[in-house]
Amino acid sequence: MNLLQQISDHLQQGKAKSVAELTRQAITDGLHPKNILDEGLIAGMSVVGEQFRKHELYLPDVLLAAKAMYAGLDLLKPLMIEANAKSHGKIVVGTVQGDLHDIGKNLVAIMLKGAGFEVIDLGNDVSAQKFISVAEQEKADVIGLSALLTTTMPTMKSVVELAKERNLYGKVKIIVGGAPLSSDYANEIGADAYCFDGMNAVETVKRFLDQIR
């Protein structure tokens, strides 16, 4: 079994230490960081994601795999910057203003990073202004909005409205998620998609980026 396949396998088993060791070995062997990322780490996370979608794996398995992914990613990151490697896409995420719940948003950010996207996590209690200005500055492809409270959902609409004002609407896709949300609500406020969990967010973002590129 080649080294990249081993990385993928160990990642699927959530073995963070061995993923780090194998990644280090791959770097020492002179494999290109982008190949280690795509064919080792992301390939492993894709298998995990697919098994999660089929209910063969559950959230804890995915999160253990994500920890293993990060163990490898931490080693690759400086090399990727050095090589000026392009990310698979840039996503700005945050929990909307007035809402301090961030577990759901954290899980989505973990899954998106696991799929190879660059994630800018603005944390919680984030204003519409901040979402839009960071998306502009960073030239983000997607904005991901999270809310757990029905009372904070209207802030999502403010983000969409502000995106329209700043001429970002349509250029930057806006996805929304959180317990009280639905596709109907996403349509109502003019968001591009509602994502029911982290894996669904990954699939949605991939679909959007495929359309753009």
Binding site: Y58, L59, K67, G98, T151, M153
Partner: protein, 240 residues
């Protein structure tokens, strides 16, 4: 009942491992693998170490509760809480929390990439907070019994601002009446409690039939939990 602070023994509000796993999306009929099971057990142990379950409660008359319920006038006109409290016999405001330390621990675990344990602890903490609210509800029922209120045929049910058409902005008046800052709970500008693992509201006691309603209101569409179904059904369990 005058205003009381309750310190709830941790053993009374320890979340069962099965409930923690369910919070992670693992159904009760599914056998979790060894690693996941161990994570859930570790999360419960961490909960035992970090959670500080505490509650505050005070009885309130119907006419005094009316302005608390009305809050800032933003309730849904058809909220079932209004008619239920009007038909009730006794009311008590309450707030519970399991403390800031456990919330900080969850964040720390996420920061250090210990996502699986962090997420598992979050589920344990949510379940533990719910159990703490139930413990306070039971204490209130016991209080009513001690004071000679008829328990047979009586139900007790909790409602919280932010649910069932009772607008979250009512938290402000609830907090003004209850002062839960003494147990470490504060409100932010958007009426959200800190620590996050806190529950506040009113415990309503009255004839069981006052509590039945169908969860088909317009605002029920936005509710992800629909726990009212289970809780209304459980009203009968309070009979002693």
């Amino acid at each position: 009942m005058n205003r009381k602070i309750f310190s709830i023994p941790i053993e009374e509000v320890l979340p069962p491992v099965a409930a923690v796993l369910e919070g992670q999306g693992i159904p009760r009929w599914k056998q979790a693998n060894g690693i996941t099971l161990q994570l859930a057990r570790d999360a419960v142990e961490l909960y035992r170490e970090k959670a500080r379950p505490v509650g505050a409660g005070v009885e309130i008359a119907k006419d005094a509760f009316k302005p608390v319920f009305e809050g800032e006038g933003r309730n849904e006109p058809d909220s079932p809480v209004g008619p239920i409290f009007q038909a009730s016999e006794n009311l008590a405001l309450f707030a519970v929390t399991i403390g800031q330390e456990i919330c900080s621990e969850i964040r720390r675990l996420f920061r250090t990439n210990d996502f699986a344990l962090g997420s598992m602890l979050d589920s344990a903490a949510s379940e533990g907070t719910e159990l703490t609210a139930r413990a306070v509800e039971k204490l209130y029922l016991r209080h009513l019994k001690d004071f000679g209120f008829q328990i047979k045929g009586t139900g007790v049910l909790r409602f919280s601002p932010g649910y069932c058409g009772w607008h979250i902005s009512a938290q402000k008046k609830l907090f003004d009446a209850l002062h839960p800052s003494e147990i470490g709970i504060t409100l932010n500008e958007s009426h959200l409690m800190q620590p996050l693992k806190s529950i506040s509201g009113v415990i309503i006691s009255g004839e069981k039939n006052i509590f039945y309603f169908d969860d088909t209101f317009s605002f029920c569409r936005d509710c992800a939990e629909h726990s009212c179904r289970e809780r209304i059904h459980a009203v009968t369990d309070h009979e002693e």
